[in-house]
């Protein structure tokens, strides 16, 4: 199998195929960086266009876009607090405060290096470990996936923000939104109000763009939004190569977040945003100064960006071997494979090794290219864009938001829906309801429900099935550990304090 890997290399190195990756990365960074446009949208627009193209050219572009967009999404997340992609939500937690402190350039450098590292790890895992990891994926039936979703939900606790009540309302709202559409088990309709467009549920991009991109655009036009373009526009960057040695102290976060990203990637349906939330959480938990997080801790940016890129190639492991994509973007990319007659499954590796392994190489190249293309060049030019006069920037974002949402399914309905979420988002923002729990609730709510119900069906209604497999038991143990650990440590601390006092 590793022989195939070497054999596939020459065709990848041909000029056309390399160029495809370069174009893809640049396009991906742009798409990610422009508020409103997402990787999902970019690849779904690209797919019909690639029909009749050489497969490696098409796939190379997609690999580039995927990697590029995962980093590109961090640019507006840092500079404007508008996550360019769903997975960049966690990046904005610390990235935006850094930009406010005039350290936006450093935040972006951390983001690009972390993204590239995550992407490289992910590509190597895809190249070297795809078949064994596909076996790991198979261990996760509905029961186990349900527990993973619950594990992800435990992160909500840390996202609630200062006001627990409002945080919980946000989370409940997110879960509720995830339930709109046809019930995945019976097909019974929930809150579709007779609209066919709602039957498949609400696309995360529609919600995200509405909640995160529209309110700032309104704020820009209101001319009151508190971002200081004077400050965030000037990035004060040193050369990225000089900045890297200073980042080496994040190595633990890089390693941990890469593992989390890869793990979440190989699970069907979870996605990059869950990877980013989880790894942000774990990094904060491991940190010596958790109270600094959310106020401009570069390690938070590193954690989020490493794992959302570590998720990219890993998400293709179940997609290529089993036909079950690990993320929404991977799902669209699977369409890109099918359109070239590449059916996922073990036969794919046997029948078309030069394409499959070539595709893996392209992922690796795309990740490496990120440092060169995503560094000074792209970052600085986008910082320039953000220096545009505010009313102009606001108008442009409104138009971009339209394009981004319309192009996913080519229909106006999604645009109207997005506008509705935009209004809700505007008021939530003003009333200090935290937005991240909404996103997490939407990602995990329906997902957890579906798998729980599938598990119960398999178990014939017996709740005991939830703890029946060894994998499930391990997961339950992990959840208990994560939820109870902070309680214990707090208890110990207060007891110690009592002893000191007494």
């Amino acid at each position: 199998m590793y022989g195939n890997l070497i054999d596939a290399l020459p065709s990848v190195l041909s000029l056309g195929n390399l160029l495809a990756v370069v174009i893809g990365v640049v396009a991906g960074i742009c798409v990610g960086a422009l508020p409103g446009l997402s990787a999902t949208m970019a690849i779904s627009v690209l797919i019909p266009f690639t029909f009749g193209m050489d497969p490696l050219v098409a796939l190379g572009m997609m690999a580039g876009i995927y990697n590029g967009a995962m980093y590109g999404g961090s640019i507006p997340a840092v500079l404007l607090r508008i996550p360019g992609t769903p997975a960049a939500v966690a990046t904005s937690f610390d990235g935006y405060p850094m930009a406010q402190q005039g350290r936006g350039g450093y935040a972006l450098q951390v983001a690009v290096v972390s993204s590239a590292l995550g992407g490289i790890v992910s590509a190597l895992v895809l190249m070297l470990l795809a078949p064994p990891l596909a076996k790991v994926t198979l261990l996760f039936g509905p029961t186990e996936i349900f527990w993973v979703a619950v594990f992800g939900m435990s992160a909500i606790v840390f996202l609630l923000g200062g006001d627990v009540l409002k945080g919980l309302i946000s989370a409940a709202f997110g879960v509720f939104v995830s339930l709109v559409g046809a019930d995945t088990i019976t097909g019974a309709e929930r809150y579709t109000f007779g609209h066919l467009e709602l039957l498949d549920g609400i696309n995360i991009v529609v919600l995200l763009v509405g909640l995160y991109a529209l309110p700032p655009a309104i704020g820009l036009l209101e001319e009151v939004r508190d971002f200081d373009t004077e400050n965030t526009g000037r990035l004060n960057t040193t050369s990225i190569w000089k900045a890297i040695p200073g980042m080496l102290k994040y190595w633990k976060t890089w390693v941990r977040s890469s593992i989390i990203g890869v793990f979440v990637g190989i699970l069907p349906g979870a996605g990059g945003s869950m990877a980013a939330f989880l790894s942000y959480n774990e990094a904060r938990r491991a940190s010596k100064n958790p109270e600094e997080w959310g106020k401009g801790e570069p390690e938070g940016v590193a954690a989020s960006e490493t794992s959302n890129n570590a998720d990219t190639a890993a998400a293709l492991i179940p997609a290529l071997t089993l036909g079950i994509p690990g993320t929404a973007v991977a799902a669209v990319m699977l369409g890109g494979l099918l359109i070239h007659g590449l059916q996922p499954g073990p036969m794919l590796f046997r029948d078309n090794p030069e394409i499959v392994f070539g595709f893996m190489w392209q992922f690796l190249f795309a990740a490496v290219l990120l440092i060169f293309l995503g560094g000074a060049l792209a970052t600085n030019s986008f910082a320039q864009v953000l220096r545009l006069p505010r009313p102009l920037l606001g108008a442009i974002i409104i138009s971009l938001v339209f394009i981004g949402v319309y192009s996913i399914n080519g229909r106006m309905f999604d645009v109207y829906l997005m506008l509705g979420f935009g209004l809700i988002g505007y008021f939530m923002d003003k009333l200090k309801f935290p937005l991240p729990p909404v996103v997490l609730g939407l990602i995990l709510g329906g997902f957890a429900e579906q798998n729980l119900r599938l598990a119960l069906r398999i178990g014939g209604g017996d709740w005991g099935i939830l703890a029946s497999s060894p994998t499930a038991k391990i997961l339950i143990g992990m959840i208990l550990l994560v939820v109870l650990m902070p309680l214990f440590s707090r208890l110990r601390r207060s007891r110690k304090a009592n002893r000191v006092a007494g």
Binding site: T184, D200, G323, I324
Partner: protein, 318 residues
């Protein structure tokens, strides 16, 4: 939705004045082929594969452009076809039994009379699969297990109200046993759950199993004759179980298509189907072909609707 209807009305007025004149020279402009799924799905690949052949056999240097209108498992696209003007410049993909089943379990803005049936091109028979390490590796063992304890056999499939669900209902009738349905919203997740041994058996289509022959036991195929995609899989009929069922994919136009346009389209579909290059392209994309043209397709549709009705009345799934 006010804007939309005004927009549609304007579009209708503008275009109706232009194209009533000459239907004789059909086609004289581009033909939109509406696909109810996102680019890259099985139906989409079929549409894009057939497009160039239709262009070739319709002549007049026409172009066939695929338009994806995904959503509601194809219903949005098929509704758009039903509501389009019957001039031959809008045709669309059509999936059975799903499209007809939706007229029963949902409010649909179309019914069996809303279409001119052109050609059904793909017939993808159902197969029963079990995990590789399962003891149940023949139909006899499966039936025995299902009859021993009602509901003990869990069946992974893609969704309720689809071909796999109807097949299970037939199986349940024929074998006189109860099964527990586990709908995974997609064949690939169902297949993976099966490979991981989380369910007892699965019902998918033959095109979805050919790449996984080493990982799964295939107990039989629900077609009259063995499939050319995998001719070592015995049919259920050979095994003495009368089961024939599958997913059908074809093309329709809005109802009341002018006769000359219909004739021209049917002719083009027939010629496309007879083209060996087309057959090879379909095989490469994993689509088992079987042609039912015009009235044959219409009666096939009626048959499928009848089946869906029977099951909906006896075992409503929601």
């Amino acid at each position: 939705m006010g804007f939309k209807s005004i927009a549609i009305a304007t579009a209708l007025i503008l275009s109706s004045s232009m194209s009533t004149a000459a239907l004789a020279d059909y086609p004289e402009k581009r033909i939109d082929m509406i696909v109810g799924f996102a680019a890259g799905g099985g139906t989409d690949v079929m549409a894009r594969t057939i497009g160039p052949y239709l262009e070739k056999y319709l002549g007049n240097d026409t172009s066939v452009v695929v338009k994806n209108m995904p959503g509601a498992s194809g219903q949005i696209g098929v509704t758009a076809v039903a509501e389009a003007r019957p001039d031959g410049y809008t045709i669309g993909t059509y999936n059975l039994p799903g499209t007809m089943a939706r007229t029963l379990d949902r409010d649909a803005d179309y019914d069996a009379d809303s279409f001119t049936y052109l050609a059904n091109v793909v017939n993808d028979p159902n197969v029963i699969v079990t995990p590789k390490n399962s003891d149940i590796d023949t139909m006899d063992k499966l039936v025995e297990a299902a009859q021993k304890r009602p509901g003990a056999v869990t069946v992974a499939m893609s969704s309720l109200g689809g071909d796999d669900h109807f097949f299970l209902q037939k199986l349940s009738d024929v074998t006189d046993a109860d099964y527990t349905v586990v709908p995974f919203s997609g064949s690939a997740p169902a297949r993976s759950a099966l490979m991981g041994g989380h369910v007892t058996m699965g019902i998918i289509n033959v095109s979805e199993v050919v790449a996984f022959r080493d990982e799964l036991n295939v107990l039989g195929i629900a077609s009259e004759e063995r499939s050319s995609l995998a001719d070592d899989i015995p049919t259920f009929k050979e095994q003495g179980v009368d089961l024939v069922n599958g997913a059908l994919r074809g093309f329709v136009a809005p109802a009341n298509l002018p006769d000359n346009v219909k004739a021209k389209l049917l002719d083009a579909f027939q010629k496309t189907y007879d083209d060996p290059d087309f057959q090879q392209a379909m095989r490469r994309s994993g689509n088992p072909t079987e042609l039912a043209l015009g009235d044959d397709f219409k009666s096939l549709n009626a048959e499928q609707l009848e089946l869906a009705k029977r099951i909906w009345e006896t075992h409503p799934w929601k």
